[in-house]
């Protein structure tokens, strides 16, 4: 059984699977034809997107494979009750899981809010005003919180601090990781753009 030659060729072959999977001829059985095995390969591909800290160059070519979410029945093995309790909207792929922290400059403690409770910026800002007992002024397209010493900002997925209100609402709730209500000089800088 001369697999040596084949193995070397296979090692350099460009493919979408992770190296080391489906590639050891001696021990592994060939992938079966059932749909379960097919989705197993899909899972290998999509999981590679997250391996930033681990293997370096391997992931680059894998990231071109779009992860298709072939959900396997009964996997991961979590009781239905628990599944339904934690994720009532599990098909909403854009939504973040839970609450986000809200801090306000000068306030002694942080709060948490569920972004999914709100449908628009005015609703959110109103809720923040009530929660922290302050006034943010009008949120209009051009003037951005004029007349207020507060400016609502948020940290996005990339870790950058952005002014609340620039992007469409749905994009905002899917990228917002935490909120900070700035006040004073810093805030004035933002509102006078």
């Amino acid at each position: 059984m001369d697999f040596q030659g084949d193995a070397n060729l296979k090692a350099t072959e460009l493919r979408l699977g992770l190296p080391g999977t489906l590639n050891e001829p001696a021990k592994q059985s060939p992938p079966s034809k059932s749909s379960k095995r097919a989705s197993l390969e899909i899972y290998d591909e999509s999981s590679s997107k997250k391996r930033e800290t681990s293997s370096s160059d391997v992931d680059d070519r894998d990231s071109t494979a779009p992860p298709t979410k072939a959900q396997i029945v009964g996997w991961p093995p979590i009781r239905s009750y628990r599944k339904n309790t934690l994720q009532p909207k599990k098909h909403d792929a854009d939504a973040l899981g839970t609450f986000i922290k809200v801090s306000m400059d000068g306030a002694p403690y942080l709060r948490k809010i569920d972004l999914k409770q709100y449908k628009s910026y005015p609703e959110l800002l109103k809720a923040l005003e009530i929660m922290f007992n302050f006034s943010i002024g009008d949120c209009s397209e051009r003037d951005y919180y004029m007349g207020s010493e507060y400016a609502p900002t948020y940290e996005d997925k990339d870790g950058d601090w952005m002014l609340v209100g620039d992007v469409p609402w749905n994009m905002f709730i899917s990228s917002c990781k935490r909120l900070r209500i700035m006040r004073g000089q810093e805030a004035r800088g933002l509102t006078c753009l």
């Binding site: 749909s35 989705s39 997107k49 396997i72 934690l86």
Partner: protein, 590 residues
């Protein structure tokens, strides 16, 4: 239970001349022997005692008050009542465990009703019924409530088929009820009115758990119930109970040993918060705490005074962050069992390792099991951190998205006392993320280092080597769960041949075929059950098994999820009751 024919009809056994020869006259009169044996507690001890001699067998069966049936189809109600005439407490488990994960179709069976009919005739003094994965209808609950005047204790875990109307019947008619424990069932939650059905003069309740019901209950009813039931020691309310309502309940029942809070988020005034804190201070006996849904950093500190004696903290429905958990754990030095969501991340688990040296059990559940976009959760680092700080760890259930062989090897070196090791790498067939190798060595390390291992669940990319290790080293293994693993029949064979104490084997999506299935022919009679789905079993293999082993029930279902129409779900179990008579059309008994 062994199927010894002469013991099946106890009356005959007493009278037949053969049995007189076989049994020696006992040194004690029967009544004394019964009294002595009635002190035996565990089912295993009682089983052992019943095998000593005929006299002991009969003394044991007359004195037994509690029976545990791990597979409701392994025995029939008729056989049960014939052998044990004085049962007060019955524990029954029904469907195969994979039914929890939707792998078993509806109406599969495990209906309690036929049992209740027999019990009504033979155990009219029945006091306790504990059911897991059984189908229970409202009609059954009403029957139970009406036909058993001494009924005291009802526990339903992961059951289905009933609604809150059934609970109304229990509350209305069970005058002596001490326990109502409703957990994680698939039920029809119509309303919270059932709580109002407890009569005004009803005061015997000691345990009330309705945490997993969603409907709002009438708080006044609940408060009055808690007030008049001064033996109440376990109270777990549902999410509709607010913080200030909880505070009022705690004032009424400060001697609770187990508490499940409702929702832990609310706009509290400083005065309300102070009251809450005071009420928690008053709970000096609290050993178990759960609930805490939507708990935030703001109100968790109110709990701290109640945590001094906590041994079990269940945060698996509270999406805590790492700092929140760390601050809470600083007050929980005596913790032995901890359940959390992976929102606490590795940092939170570091805090576990630092604060809980007595920890024996850790369960980490995934908060977002299906979302692959978000890189949250726990990794091998969290598990490692716990293993360094909690050397007494013996039970772990860990859901993660990455793991390494080296980490697991270190973990089991730190904690060699594992009895239950359930690791779920959520991506099926995922290798060691650093080395890209299969996870064989991880589980090899587990079985080599943990001689007391009773239960194992494996995951990740695994070849037959994992199962060779298991068969070679896991000599105390009783339960094994396998998914998306193995390379060939050899894997399953190794386990069947190598694990003498194996009782439950459940397998899904593995390349094990007929050869593997048939290699366990003699083994299955010493096991409770075998489940195999989406493997390479064919109908012929199942037929052969059924033909060779007539004392096994071999049940086959078509696998709806597979594309090729060749896949089956096979459930094999030993039984003294023969093939079941209530099998639905989609279950073929061979």
């Amino acid at each position: 239970m062994r199927a010894l024919p002469e013991l099946m009809d106890p009356k005959r056994a007493r009278e037949s001349p053969e049995s007189a020869v076989l049994s020696r006259p006992s040194a004690f009169p029967d009544e004394v022997l019964e009294r002595i044996l009635s002190l035996l507690d565990t089912h295993k001890d009682r089983s052992s005692a019943s095998l000593v001699s005929k006299a002991w067998y009969h003394a044991e069966r007359w004195s037994r008050a509690r029976v545990f049936i791990g597979n409701c189809y392994s025995v029939s109600a008729e056989i049960l009542v014939r052998r044990f005439p004085n049962i007060r407490s019955v524990t029954l488990k029904g469907k195969p465990r994979f039914s929890d994960f939707n792998l078993v179709p509806q109406n599969w069976g495990a209906d309690i009703h036929s049992w209740l009919l027999v019990f009504a005739e033979h155990y009219p003094s029945l006091e306790e019924l504990r059911l897991k994965r059984m189908t229970v209808t409202d009609q059954s609950l009403e029957f139970l409530a009406l036909k058993f005047p001494n009924f005291k204790s009802l526990s339903l875990l992961s059951c289905d088929g009933f609604s809150t109307d059934g609970l109304s019947a229990i509350a209305t008619h069970c005058r002596n009820l001490t326990e109502l424990d409703i957990q994680e069932n698939g039920i029809d939650d119509i309303s919270g009115n059932w709580l109002n059905c407890f009569p005004d003069n009803f005061t015997s309740l000691e345990v009330l758990n309705f945490a997993s019901l969603n409907s709002e209950v009438n708080f006044d009813s609940l408060e009055r119930l808690v007030t008049r039931c001064n033996l109440l020691r376990i109270l777990k309310v549902n999410k509709t109970i607010t913080l200030d309502q909880l505070q009022r309940l705690l004032v009424r029942a400060p001697w609770l040993t187990e508490l499940g809070t409702g929702s832990f988020i609310q706009e509290l005034t400083p005065r309300q918060y102070a009251d809450l804190e005071t009420s928690f201070k008053g709970c000096r006996n609290l050993q178990t705490l759960s609930g805490l849904s939507e708990a935030t950093a703001l109100y968790l500190p109110a709990l701290y005074p109640a945590c001094a004696n906590l041994t079990f903290l269940n945060l698996s429905y509270a999406a805590l962050q790492s700092e929140e958990l760390a601050r809470l754990l600083a007050y929980c030095a005596h913790l032995r069992r901890l359940w959390v969501l992976d929102t606490v991340e590795d940092k939170g688990l570091e805090a576990v390792g630092q604060n809980c040296p007595l920890l024996e059990e850790l369960r980490v559940f995934p908060s977002d099991p299906f979302d692959e976009e978000i890189v949250h959760g726990v990794t091998e680092l969290g598990f490692l951190a716990v293993s360094y700080g909690c050397r007494k760890l013996r039970y772990v259930l860990y859901f993660c998205r990455q793991m390494t062989n080296a980490a697991v090897a270190t973990i089991v070196r730190n904690c060699p006392d594992f009895t239950h090791f359930r690791l779920c790498i959520m991506n099926p067939g995922q290798p060691d993320y650093l080395t890209r190798e299969p996870m064989d060595e991880a589980f090899g390390a587990v079985v080599k280092n943990c001689p007391k291992l009773q239960r194992l669940a494996v995951s990740g990319l695994l070849t037959d080597l994992t199962f060779e290790y298991i068969g070679t080293f896991a000599k105390n293994l009783e339960t094994l769960s396998v998914a998306f693993a193995g390379s060939s029949d050899l894997g399953m064979q190794c386990v069947l041949e190598g694990c003498p104490k194996l009782r439950k084997l459940e397998i899904r999506d593995c390349p094990f075929g007929n050869k593997a299935l048939l290699s366990g022919l003699e083994k299955y009679e010493s096991m409770r059950s075998l489940w195999m789905s989406a493997c390479k079993i064919t109908m012929n293999g199942c037929r052969l098994l059924a033909r060779k082993m007539p004392r096994l029930n071999v049940e086959v279902m078509k696998d709806e999820e597979s594309n090729d129409g060749q896949s089956y779900k096979v459930y094999v179990y030993r039984s003294v009751a023969g093939p079941r008579r209530d099998a639905p059309p989609f279950v073929l008994t061979l």
